[in-house]
């Protein structure tokens, strides 16, 4: 096989692409898995979404270099695949089977029941958000991205992202607190 100067360059480029890709995979796979998991509430589906995200990223690597931050682009692919997945699941009318969030807290037994009840309410509130609300909430609360970064990922205005995030948090607080107040009143009666 004739590998001239051009062939060597091509090989170098391929190696560079692979090395860069590997680095981004190591940096972002777990993060994107976290986003996908919170979006679809299922471990295996989230892993599949991340896998597909990286396959698409690899195939289009050259197109996106320099256009925008790679992280923005990776988040974008993962969210779009999550939306597609949720649409398909919605059409098939299938409910997510597992919601095995990891609860990292170590609390005394008597507090655990009350807290887990409250956590269930919070989880339910998050599940009830629209996919776009959920994305904004996840990117801000868990991934701690700035409003500017979220706006870039979601092709939206910073003002819209800020307002939506506030509405979401306000709604969660209101519904979780209201239910607790209602429960306390019942207990007193």
């Amino acid at each position: 096989m004739n590998v001239g100067h051009g062939g060597g360059e091509h090989l170098q480029q391929m190696n560079k692409k692979t090395t860069e890709f590997d680095e981004y995979y190591r940096l972002f796979a777990q993060k994107l898995y976290g986003v996908a998991f919170k979006m679809v509430s299922n471990q295996q589906d989230a892993l599949d979404i991340v896998q597909e995200s990286f396959i698409r990223a690899y195939q289009n690597w050259a197109k996106f270099r320099g256009d925008s931050a790679v992280s923005t682009w990776l988040y974008k692919i993962t969210l779009n695949l999550s939306y597609d997945f949720l649409k398909k699941r919605g059409r098939a009318n299938i409910l997510p089977v597992e919601k095995d969030f990891e609860d990292r807290r170590v609390v005394p037994n008597d507090r655990r029941i009350m807290d887990s009840d409250r956590m269930e309410k919070i989880k339910k509130e998050i599940d009830n958000l629209t996919p776009k609300q959920k994305s904004i909430f996840i990117l801000k609360s868990y991934d701690e991205l700035t409003y500017r970064e979220i706006a870039r990922i979601m092709n939206s205005r910073i003002g819209t992202i800020k307002a939506t995030y506030f509405q979401v948090i306000q709604k969660i607080r209101k519904n979780v607190s209201d239910k607790e107040v209602g429960k306390n009143v019942l207990q007193e009666i």
């Binding site: 995979y25 919170k38 990891e102 800020k162 948090i169």
Partner: protein, 164 residues
């Protein structure tokens, strides 16, 4: 400013998204307003609790194995991308037909030739694709497409004369 407006600022404040003068103004207000102090505590608690809900974590080994799986998928997808235009595009079929005519020549009895799919294999060997890709191409072509291709070959007998 009403407490209602401060509620919005509290959320931005907890997300570290308030500029210093606004943050200072909010802190001053909170010192004096019990409702907003309560509100700040509640929002802080909700945000802390939501952060506790995390996806189960996987170790480095797991992700390395997944990365290797991603890499395994890549060549297959590339091949599919190559196969699609060959199967679907009429111009690609024409190229194959021209090559077939060149190889088998006009006037030779079609009945005496090997089975259709094997003819494809011979024709496809003339194309600049690796062997395993070509074999997959042959697998992809169904009998109906094979017949269509043969018709193109027959219709292009004149073209073979031109090539020669």
């Amino acid at each position: 400013m009403s407490c209602r407006k401060y509620e919005r600022l509290i959320v931005y404040y907890l997300g570290n998204e308030l500029k210093e003068p606004e943050a200072e103004r909010l802190e001053e207000h909170i010192k004096a307003c019990e409702d907003c102090r309560k509100s700040l505590a509640e929002y802080r608690s909700i945000l802390a609790e939501t952060k506790e809900l995390r996806a189960p974590a996987y170790g480095e080994e797991f992700w390395t194995a997944r990365l290797n799986e991603v890499k395994k998928h890549m060549p297959q997808r590339k091949q599919r991308a190559l196969l699609k235009p060959v199967i679907l595009s009429a111009s690609a079929l024409a190229v194959i037909a021209v090559l077939a005519v060149k190889i088998f020549g006009p006037g030779e009895s079609m009945i005496a030739r090997p089975p259709i799919k094997n003819q494809y294999a011979v024709v496809l060997n003339e194309l600049p694709y690796p062997e395993d890709t070509l074999l997959k191409m042959v697998d992809y072509i169904d009998d109906e497409s094979a017949e269509k291709l043969l018709n193109i070959i027959l219709e292009n007998n004149l073209m073979s004369a031109h090539i020669r």
